[in-house]
Amino acid sequence: MSVLYAVLYLAAAFTGAAVVFQRRPINQLFVFSLFGTVLTLLFFALHAPDVALSELAVGTVLIPVIVLIAIMKTGRV
């Protein structure tokens, strides 16, 4: 179990940093979505399925879609 925690924490740290270091907004969006997926797994592993469900819907689908629309609108792809 502790191996799972270690892997998930490291993955969260890695993808979280990757979101910041990715400079192109459109690429950043997909990394952000991946970050949301990792967080979902982490919350689930930490016995917080309610929070994991919220993170799954909001962090991996809705925020990327809305930001995607905003990026398409501003044309700064």
């Binding site: 994991a52 919220s54 819907a57 609108k73």
Partner: protein, 251 residues
């Protein structure tokens, strides 16, 4: 500020933050240990008192229902703010009926269309399942509503803008969203009149483990589902409308 000075400031503050962070983490409890009295107390009494199996839902909609009311209205105000800024409700709904249909949309490949069309009913059913069983299994109104809104987003991704506008009728959805927000307060005021306490669980609690159980927890969860699903769908449509407007400007 030159890049060199900026780098020096960053290194200093990064080291300081790191030291404080390590110092703070060393003082933490063991991983997984928790000494808060409130949660262990709720875990032992919630199922007996409120006939629910998922204690977080009992906390959200009953023990700390007032906090959730605040959160609902933060969300409501945020959606309202977006609608006001983009002026989505000023334009008439019939405005996009004509030119929208004729404008040529980029065609998605049929694989995308079929996957989305096949997935949609399952997504919608799953959203309602999550929303309706908040008192039994992890989930509830917020989670269900958010999943439902991602189903709406899938309509756009697979079937395009016109289909999305045809499904999400802004004026209708706006009324539904307000209805969800209003019924939360309505239930609160109703229980205030009936029992003398705001949001007190005054409805029959039902049998533990059945779909309709938990008294007001179930009803409030449904109200939140309506508000979140409709609010997020409205947000999506408002943003998409803005994108379409720009497309017209360029032509």
């Amino acid at each position: 500020m030159s890049p060199k000075i900026r780098a020096v400031v960053f290194v200093i503050s990064a080291i300081a933050t790191f030291v404080v962070l390590v110092d703070a983490s060393l003082g933490l409890d063991h991983f997984g240990s928790f000494t808060g009295a409130y949660s262990s107390m709720l875990l032992s009494v919630a199922t007996k008192e409120r006939h629910v199996l998922n204690v977080p839902s009992a906390v959200n909609f009953d023990y700390r229902g007032f906090d959730t009311l605040g959160e609902e209205y933060i969300f409501f105000a945020a959606v309202l703010g977006v609608l006001l800024i983009f002026g989505a409700l000023h334009g008439s709904s019939t405005e996009h009926a004509g030119p929208m249909e004729t404008r040529e949309m980029p065609r998605e490949t049929s694989a995308v269309v079929w996957i989305v069309a096949g997935l949609l009913p399952f997504l919608a059913a799953m959203a309602m399942d999550i929303g309706a069983h908040g008192q039994l299994t992890p989930g509830g109104g917020f989670q269900g509503g958010a999943v439902f809104a991602s189903a709406v987003a899938c309509i756009y991704l697979g079937l395009g803008l016109p289909a999305m506008f045809r499904v999400v009728r802004e004026h209708f959805v706006d009324v539904l969203e307000s209805l969800g927000a209003l019924s939360f307060v309505g239930i609160g005021v109703g229980t205030l009149i009936a029992t003398g306490a705001f949001l007190k669980n005054a409805l029959p609690l039902g049998k533990t483990g059945e779909t309709v159980s938990g008294g007001t927890i179930y009803v409030l969860s449904c109200a939140v589902f309506l508000e979140i699903a409709c609010g997020l769908a409205l947000l999506l449509v408002t943003f998409l409308k803005q994108m379409r407007k720009q497309g017209e400007d360029q032509q």
